[in-house]
């Protein structure tokens, strides 16, 4: 049996006196498109930072590819060595660099020479259909274009996993739907595992096959998203399902 891509073992996280979660366990398989759902402040983004190696757990271990990558208070495997990339909530595009330079600098840890970096960056821009925007700065792009630029930067190093930290907040529904399709296409094309953090189950259903709902400091329910929505247990999913229009009832 192959080891999960990433695994949390009895992880506890605290911010000052506030305990975000305790004895938290979770496994995400390689190649899976996995959604972490939950209300604001439940620690979803913290989970992504634990996976990425941006912060260590207070207690417990984070395993990547069957080896301990972070243990209590210590990061053993540096973020860029995990081959995970991330699209941040605010996209984190470096504002003084052009889109092409953003993608090229994002390849700093890939061990490529300058020419290879340029080719890889251009290829990522082409894949994300923003080749013509390479010379622009992030401040000169629309919201949707910025999303694509961030996506290009994240996909250019050919990561094993793409971590998405609520990257669609603030976009209108038409652009969102378009981007869901694009991301699904690109991740299939690049063979990337997707871990999405969102408070919106609709996003999860559009992008992911599996998911877990985080509530009250632990995993409330976990499995195939289709199954979770069929018989929701968590408050998050029940609230979502309750407000969906019922196909069989009413005056329709």
């Amino acid at each position: 049996m192959t080891a999960p891509l990433v695994e949390l073992k009895n992880v506890t996280m605290r911010y000052g006196q506030v305990e975000v979660f305790r004895d938290f366990n979770l496994q995400i398989a390689d190649g899976c498109h996995f959604a972490l759902l939950g209300p604001s402040g439940c620690g979803k983004s913290t989970l992504l930072r634990l996976f990425a190696g941006l912060q260590p757990p207070a207690v417990g271990e984070v395993w990547v590819d069957g080896s301990p990558a972070s243990v209590a208070g210590e990061i053993r495997l540096a973020p860029h060595k995990r081959r995970f990339t991330m699209v941040f909530q605010d996209l984190a595009l470096w504002p003084n660099l052009t889109v092409l330079q953003n993608v090229e600098l994002g390849l700093a840890g890939a061990g490529l020479d300058r020419r290879e970096r340029r080719e890889r960056a251009l290829s990522a821009l082409r894949a994300c259909r923003i080749e013509e925007l390479g010379s622009r700065r992030p401040g000169e792009l629309s919201g949707g274009q910025q999303q694509r630029a961030a996506l290009a930067r994240a996909l250019a190093p050919q990561p094993r996993a793409l971590l998405l930290d609520e990257p669609f907040s603030g976009l209108d529904i038409a652009i969102k739907v378009h981007l869901y399709a694009e991301i699904t296409r690109l991740c299939r094309e690049f063979g990337v595992t997707v871990i999405l953090v969102s408070h919106d189950p609709m996003e999860a259903t559009a992008l992911c096959s599996h998911g877990a709902v985080i509530e009250h400091g632990g995993v409330r329910e976990e499995g195939r998203i289709r199954d979770l929505l069929r018989a929701p247990v968590s408050e998050t999913l029940r609230a979502f399902v309750d407000q969906l229009p019922q196909a069989s009832g009413g005056n329709h």
């Binding site: 860029h80 003084n96 840890g109």
Partner: protein
């Protein structure tokens, strides 16, 4: 490889770096404190006039602070909340005293009194003259503190208040919100006056700072000067401690970026005449009146040759001191901001430390450095007895101004930039060079310019530390004013005011030109 994420993680290096940086800013004064604490001499500093001088300093400081608050607070509130014709020019005009050494205003008031034929005991001399001179600096401090505080108010809050109760409600709401900033600024103005010897010496109301200068420069009693300086520092710190206690946390929180649209000045018919009237009055009393005094003796004769010779002789030194000060202050402030920006408790400690550094008398650092230099071997002269020394000591004293600018800038940089760099394997050095440094370039340039402009007005540090023949323009003026004809002093003083006007005009021009350019490049938000 050091990961860029280190910039966003907590760590002991932050505390150590902050402590080391603040200690560096206080280091020049350390030899003096050590000498006094361990010295054998036990003569009381309170002999003679010194206790009286301390009392006079407190009267002047308190009076200047109250006057600055009473005048500056309503003026700043109206100027911050409302648009009116000539707003930028009037604000630039009232900022002028910040670039001028306080003793020049005192000279101006003294000359004005003579021209008006007023007796020595009139309002323009003695305690009230000193209060007016220092209020000329305190009022713009309060006005600009209130402007900054008003500017960081959320537009939605003001709109909601406006809908609920009209403009008077807006004034009440903004007034309550900005009063702590105004109070802090007026206290700061008062405290700064305690360490400034100029106006007291000229207007016949010598304070403690004057006594320190006299002990060192006229009596050549270094030990007495050192002891007096420590007493002044103690008084200033005691006066500043409530300021540190009450405002450090608020100021540190106020420096954080807010996720709300900041307010923009609105139109209000009443403010369209009231605001320019108040600003015009401030400008007339704090700038035009002293300048009128300076002009009178010059009407008979303007010493063009002597003025030009003095400017030519001291101009390069003045610029070198100012630029060195700007670079030292900004370099240290950048390091301090990197250490403190991401941890709330360190931000408060940083701001508290900055206030302490800023309010200490400049003579403390200068005399401490002079003491260290007097016992140091000759090969240390380039470090302890050179123009570099003067610039560095000036810079360390003005680090707080640069610190506020850089801390604000560092707080504005999202944590996700460095985290993204870490995820992508961008080394710390590359991240700093390619992302952080370009982002901080604007605030760094502003910080260097601000410190350099304010450093040009310093007298105490340059006077006590200048290498032979390397005087700055204000010090040259300060040293000739007692013996030179009034018309020559007036000529030099007017030349200084004109240079300061040119500097203000240049800043105004850059302010007018740069924003549209930045908007066109898309590097600042259009909102």
């Amino acid at each position: 490889m050091i990961s860029a994420a280190v910039l966003e993680r907590p760590g002991r290096w932050r505390v150590l770096g902050l402590a080391a940086g603040l200690a560096a800013a206080l280091l020049p004064g350390a030899p003096l404190v050590w000498e006094v604490v361990t010295g054998a001499g036990s003569a009381s500093v309170f002999g003679g006039d010194f206790a009286l001088a301390v009392g006079r300093s407190l009267i002047v400081g308190g009076g200047a602070a109250i006057l600055a608050l009473v005048v500056g607070f309503p003026t700043g509130l109206l100027a911050g909340l409302y648009r009116f014709r000539g707003r930028r020019v009037l604000l630039a005009g009232v900022a002028l005293p910040l670039l001028i050494p306080s003793f020049l205003w005192a000279i101006g008031l003294s000359m004005l009194r003579i021209e008006l034929g007023l007796p020595r005991e009139s309002l323009l001399s003695g305690a009230t003259g000193c209060i007016f001179s220092f209020a000329a600096i305190g009022v713009p401090l309060v006005i600009f503190a209130v402007l900054l505080a008003v500017g960081s108010t959320a537009a939605s809050n003001l709109d909601a208040t406006r809908l609920a109760g009209g403009e008077l409600a807006v004034l009440r709401y903004a007034g309550r919100a900005c009063f702590p900033a105004a109070l802090s600024a007026c206290l700061l103005g008062g405290i700064l006056s305690l360490a400034d010897p100029g106006p007291g010496q000229i207007l016949g109301f010598s304070g403690a700072a004057t006594q320190v200068l006299v002990s060192f420069s006229a009596l050549y009693d270094f030990e007495l000067a050192a002891r007096q300086c420590i007493v002044v520092a103690g008084v200033v710190l005691a006066a500043a401690s409530p300021l540190v206690w009450f405002t450090a946390g608020k100021l540190a929180a106020g420096l954080l970026p807010r996720n709300a649209t900041p307010m923009r000045p609105a139109r209000w018919p009443a403010a369209e005449w009231a605001a320019p009237l108040l600003l015009g009055l401030v400008f007339a009393l704090s700038v035009l009146a002293p300048v009128a005094g300076l002009v009178q003796p010059v009407l008979g004769r303007f010493w063009l040759d002597r003025t030009w010779e003095t400017v030519a002789r001291t101009g390069a030194n003045t610029v070198v001191y100012a630029l060195l000060a700007g670079l030292v202050a900004t370099g240290l402030a950048t390091w301090l901001a990197v250490c403190a920006a991401r941890v709330a408790s360190l931000r408060i400690a940083f701001v508290a430390g900055l206030i302490v550094v800023f309010v200490l008398p400049p003579a403390l650092n200068a005399l401490g450095t002079a003491l260290a230099a007097s016992g140091a071997p000759a090969w240390l002269d380039p470090v302890l007895r050179s123009r570099l020394t003067v610039g560095a000591v000036l810079g360390l004293r003005l680090t707080p101004l640069a610190g506020i600018v850089l801390l604000r800038a560092m707080c504005t940089a999202p944590a996700s930039w460095a985290l993204a760099a870490a995820v992508h394997g961008v080394p710390l050095g590359t991240y700093c060079r390619r992302v952080l440094a370009p982002f901080l370039a604007g605030p760094i340039a502003i910080s260097v310019a601000l410190v350099a402009l304010l450093a040009t007005a310093d007298v105490t540090t340059v006077l006590l530390l200048q290498p032979p023949g390397q005087s700055s323009f204000p010090v040259a003026l300060f040293t000739v004013m007692a013996n030179a004809p009034e018309s020559m002093v007036g000529s030099l003083a007017l030349a200084y005011v004109m240079i300061a006007c040119i500097a203000i005009a240049a800043v105004l021009l850059v302010n007018i030109l740069v924003k549209p350019l930045a908007l066109a490049r898309g590097s600042v938000s259009a909102t």
